[in-house]
Every structure is written in structure tokens, then in C-alpha cells.
């Protein structure tokens, strides 16, 4: 499992109700079901991924996260998880408001755009940065939002979210290998993970 998902999994209390937005083939949901006895559901847009989830016995809906999130009752879940999708969302503020309506707590993870290598590329080469976490060119990237750890903290304070927990993660290949970063996280972390709730 991806390193950031492993961290997220450790934050989820056993027996919780979890909604995973953009759940892919259900790796995290499957893990939470087996290891945390979580009652999970997921939303995913790609038919093939949705089918993979349902085939392995997960409860998953095919659809757009911005649309599907609206139908759930208030506080229907203990956790709503949005992993590595925030940078692709057209209206993040509205989406996060909905996540906090539906979930008691929300876990968000995203690639940190202020990593030193990105700053270095922009400073020295003058090109929009590319790396393993952000491998696209400006004209074909799905990542339309540029977010840093500092940005997110600022966002949280401005929009009445409480940050209950956060982790700065270094996972250079974006795979299972990684470590937590405590020294100069905004400069050294490739991903940020935040647990937030309504203030």
C-alpha cells in the first residue's frame, strides 16, 4: 500500500464508518475492513476500478465525488478520506465543506508543492516543476491546484476547520516506502496529510 495510505490507516479508529473518495481499486478500504473492522464505502469514477472493488466485496459507487457526496445524511461517517485528489478538485472549498458535513472527521492528503526540489526547478530552470509526484506538463496535468503544507494550514484557519492531526511525509517514489518528516516539513515533505474537523 502507498505510504501515505499506511499513515492514514493508522489514524482510523477500529470499527469506524469510513467513506473513501476516489478509492481506486479499494486498497485502503480493503485494508481498513480487514485490519480495523471498519465499515467502509467508496466513490470512484472509473468503471474498471469500481468493478474491482465490488468484486472483492467492497461497497463502492461509481460516480463523481462532487456530486455523490451531496446525497449522504449529515455526519453519516466517522471519517471521510480524500487522498491525493484535492489538487485536482475544481472547487476545493465547497468540497471540503461537504466532507465536513458528511464526516465527523476528514482526512486529506496531497502532494506538497513547496518541496525544495520543486522550488529549485522553478528558481533555476524557470519551468513549471515536474517530479515523481507531479509528473505532468502544464498543458496535460489533472493537478489544477497548487497546494503547500503552509497553504493548507492557512486554509484551515481561515475556513473554521480545526486541524486535529497532521503528518508530513517523505515518500520519494510514491510507493510503500517512506518516512515522516519533522524537520523543515514544508521544504522536505513530498506529501502532507491532515486530519480536520469542524471548529
Amino acid at each position: 500500500m502507498r505510504y501515505d495510505l499506511e499513515i492514514i490507516a493508522t489514524w482510523v479508529k477500529p470499527g469506524s464508518r469510513v467513506l473513501d473518495l476516489g478509492c481506486g481499486a479499494g486498497e485502503l478500504l480493503d485494508y481498513l475492513r480487514k485490519e480495523k473492522q471498519a465499515r467502509g464505502s467508496g466513490i470512484e469514477s472509473a468503471e474498471e476500478q469500481v468493478a474491482a472493488c465490488i468484486e472483492k466485496g467492497l461497497q463502492v459507487l461509481q460516480g463523481d465525488i462532487n456530486e455523490e457526496i451531496r446525497d449522504y445524511p449529515d455526519q453519516a461517517f466517522d471519517y471521510v478520506i480524500l487522498s491525493q485528489t484535492l489538487q485536482q478538485v475544481y472547487q476545493p472549498q465547497e468540497l471540503i465543506r461537504e466532507l465536513l458535513r458528511v464526516g465527523k472527521q476528514v482526512i486529506v492528503s496531497f502532494p506538497n508543492f513547496s518541496h525544495w526540489s520543486i522550488r529549485w526547478q522553478l528558481l533555476v530552470n524557470g519551468y513549471a516543476p515536474k517530479n515523481r509526484q507531479l509528473p505532468y506538463d502544464w498543458y496535460n496535468t489533472p493537478n489544477i491546484r497548487v497546494i503547500t503544507l503552509t497553504d493548507f494550514r492557512h486554509f484551515a484557519s481561515k475556513f473554521e476547520c480545526r486541524i486535529d492531526r497532521e503528518a508530513a511525509v517523505k515518500s520519494p517514489k510514491g510507493d510503500g516506502a517512506g518516512m515522516l518528516v519533522s524537520f523543515l516539513p514544508n521544504l522536505r515533505a513530498t506529501y502532507g496529510i491532515f486530519l480536520i474537523s469542524r471548529r
Partner: protein, 388 residues
């Protein structure tokens, strides 16, 4: 709907099955229908494959679509040319695994494949009912199925599964008997027909009723309204396909000729195909049953009947887990209808999974062998069985 099912590609089969019968509602204990009319005695033709376990809790009820029957899987005789209509899905280690589950299917009320319908004998006249047969609803069909399950001592259903009009029955089960239904698989279906679906059904019914042989439904023993019924089938068949499917399958290709006939012969392959489908259909189906069942489907509105017009309220008492599946090219029961259903289920906090399968063959897709659909149903049922 269509008759695509051929032998299973892997040759795996439940083997020989038989058509069973159950008769109930003998006078004076007739079934009071939703219309208020009384019907009895009622015979249901049904099929059971797989073993009923000791607790009688491994039962899956499959509801067939408009023109289907109780013959789900396997063969009645060793030399049958084709197996039951859902043989691709039902059998050992298939999507609906008969080594684990006991699968039951009844021919629906008003049908013509062994269950009491307009072609059955009316005890009051000792002649076929014809149009004296009372109008039945999807709810009546479901209540008749319930009577059979009561008789079999089945107090809980692992799943009710159906596509199209069968899906309506599955949904009806989940709201009418919330304590009995542990899960519901609704394929290419809706809680209420659209105006488009009603329109095509009405054209089909008018085709039947305007046949000179129709004789107000009293044609048994004389020439049958075959032309009208064949025409209804041709219309229906087009609605079960799609633009893409017709284009791929036929295009503008001509049938056994190089040039146009310049008369009204079946020049195009698609014309010839529809004529063949129509003529084949009249050999096995009763025109009055076609009228009654299409009307029952058009009348059906789960929202009105169970939710004062609200789809959300209609599912308030339902406890089943749901798998909802639609197909991209289905224009008779389009995906937006499945999404509306999913939305209502979600708003009730119910456990629902939904997948829209990319398919070119239109509404018929739910009947065609599909590894994707098999995987979805198999995975879903395994979870339902495991989580209990």
C-alpha cells in the same frame, strides 16, 4: 428479452432441471389483487437449482423480465437445443454459484409459461380467461412469489435479483418485505417507467389489439393475432438494442441479394432479422400475456405506491444491501434512472453499490454473458453471505 443465450462457453452447467408447479388461492381463498379483483386458483411454474440448506437461508430469488420464464439454467432434457435463459450466470462456480446458493425462479403471474395467466382456464366459464383475466400488478406478482416461498418454508432471502421488469420485482420485494430481503440486485431497471418506455409498450399493445385475429382477446381455439404480436416484438426488439449495436450488427447490409428489390421484401439484414425475431416469438408467447405484463410494468411506480410520490420515502423501511447496475447504451432504462434509485437508497443510509457498465448492446446487455457483470454479482453475493 432477446434470445441470445447459447450453451455455456465453458460447458459448466447445473445439468438437468425440471419445471415444478405450486397451486394456491383455491376458492374461496382467492388472492385479492391490488385492483380489488379476486384471482384463484393460481398455479405458479417454478424452477429450483442448487440445494436448500438446513436453515433454508441460502435462497436467491431471480425474477425474470417481460417475456422470460422460470427456466433459469440447465436443461429439461438431454437433447434440448439450448439451456435456461440465465445459464451463463447461474451454475457451479458461476456468478450465482449453485454450489452455495439455492436459486428459485417463478414464471410471473399473467405469464404463459405454466403460471396462471390470460391463456389459463377460467374456472367460472371452463374456457381460457382472455381479457376476463383481472389486471395484475408488479406487487401482485411479488405476492404470488411470496406465497410459494412460504410454502417452501423460506423465511429469509439471501438476495432477490432481477433485470428490467424483473428488477422492478426485485425492488418491490425490498420495500414490501423489508424483513425478508437481505440483499437486492437491480439490473438495468427503474422504480417507474419513463414516458418513452410506456410509449413503446403502448405501440406494442396497439399492434396486438389491432390484429384482425385478436377478437377482443378471445382467440384461443382459432387463428391467433400472430402478426400483431410479431410486430410488437419487432418494436420491442429495437428498444432492447441501440444505435451502435444495430450499426455494428447490420449496418446497411443487404440480405441475400446484391441490389434493392424495389418492392417491400426484406432487403436489409436488419429487416430480415426483425421479421425472424417476430415470427420466432409468436411460437412461444401469448398475445394476451404480452398485454397484461407490459401494462403491469407501465403501471408500476414504486414512489407512488410506497412513498407518497417520494423515491426516498419509499425505501424508508428497507434494510437490504443493494447492487445497482446500468449499461451505457441502454436507452430504455437509462443510467439516470439507476442513479436516481441509488440516490434514494443513499439518502436512507442504505448499503448500496453501483456500477455503470460500458456496453454497446443496449438494454439487452443485462442478459448477455459478461465477465464484468458476473464478477460484480459474484463479489456482491459473497460479501452479503459473509457479513451475516
Amino acid at each position: 428479452m432477446s434470445e441470445y443465450i447459447e450453451h455455456d462457453s465453458q460447458g459448466v452447467s447445473v445439468g438437468l432441471t425440471e419445471k415444478l408447479f405450486y397451486t394456491f388461492a383455491e376458492p374461496p381463498g382467492q388472492l385479492v389483487l391490488e385492483s380489488g379483483a379476486r384471482l384463484g386458483p393460481i398455479t405458479l411454474a417454478y424452477e429450483m437449482v442448487g440445494e436448500l440448506n438446513a436453515a433454508r437461508d441460502n435462497v436467491i430469488l431471480v425474477a425474470h423480465a417481460l417475456t422470460g420464464d422460470s427456466h433459469l439454467a440447465g436443461y429439461y432434457h438431454h437433447d434440448d437445443p439450448r439451456p435456461g435463459w440465465w445459464d451463463s450466470m447461474i451454475g457451479p462456480a458461476k456468478g450465482i454459484d449453485t454450489s452455495r446458493y439455492c436459486v428459485i425462479c417463478t414464471n410471473i403471474l399473467a405469464g404463459c409459461m405454466g403460471t396462471t395467466g390470460p391463456s389459463s382456464e377460467n374456472p367460472a366459464t371452463s374456457k381460457p380467461y382472455g381479457l376476463a383475466f383481472p389486471m395484475v400488478t408488479i406487487g401482485d406478482m411479488v405476492r404470488a412469489q411470496k406465497a410459494l416461498l412460504d410454502q417452501l418454508g423460506v423465511r429469509s432471502l439471501l438476495a432477490v435479483i432481477g433485470g428490467s421488469v424483473g428488477g422492478m420485482q426485485a425492488l418491490e420485494w425490498s420495500v414490501r418485505y423489508p424483513d425478508l430481503v437481505r440483499s437486492c440486485v437491480a439490473l438495468a431497471t427503474t422504480t417507474h417507467h419513463s414516458a418513452l418506455a410506456i410509449a413503446f409498450n403502448e405501440i406494442g399493445r396497439q399492434a396486438v389489439m389491432s390484429d384482425p385475429n385478436f377478437n377482443k382477446g378471445d382467440y384461443y381455439g382459432g387463428p391467433r393475432p400472430d402478426l400483431g404480436l410479431a410486430l410488437a416484438r419487432m418494436i420491442g426488439h429495437v428498444t432492447y438494442l441501440s444505435d451502435a449495436a444495430l450499426r455494428q450488427k447490420f449496418g446497411r447490409r443487404l440480405q441475400n441479394r446484391q441490389d434493392f428489390s424495389f418492392n417491400f421484401d426484406a432487403d436489409f439484414q436488419v429487416e430480415s432479422y426483425l421479421r425472424y425475431q417476430g415470427s420466432k416469438f409468436v411460437q412461444r408467447f401469448d398475445a394476451n400475456s404480452y398485454l397484461y405484463i407490459t401494462k403491469a410494468a407501465d403501471y408500476y411506480d414504486l414512489r407512488q405506491q410506497h412513498g407518497h410520490g417520494s423515491e426516498v420515502e419509499a425505501f424508508a423501511k428497507t434494510r437490504a444491501k443493494f447492487l445497482v447496475v446500468s449499461f451505457t447504451s441502454d436507452w430504455l432504462y437509462p443510467t439516470y434512472q439507476s442513479r436516481a434509485l441509488v440516490k434514494a437508497l443513499k439518502k436512507n443510509g442504505l448499503d448500496v453499490s453501483f456500477c455503470e457498465i460500458e456496453a454497446q448492446c443496449g438494454h439487452d446487455a443485462f442478459l448477455l454473458p459478461s465477465p464484468r457483470l458476473t464478477g460484480l454479482i459474484g463479489g456482491f453475493l459473497a460479501r452479503v453471505a459473509e457479513e451475516e
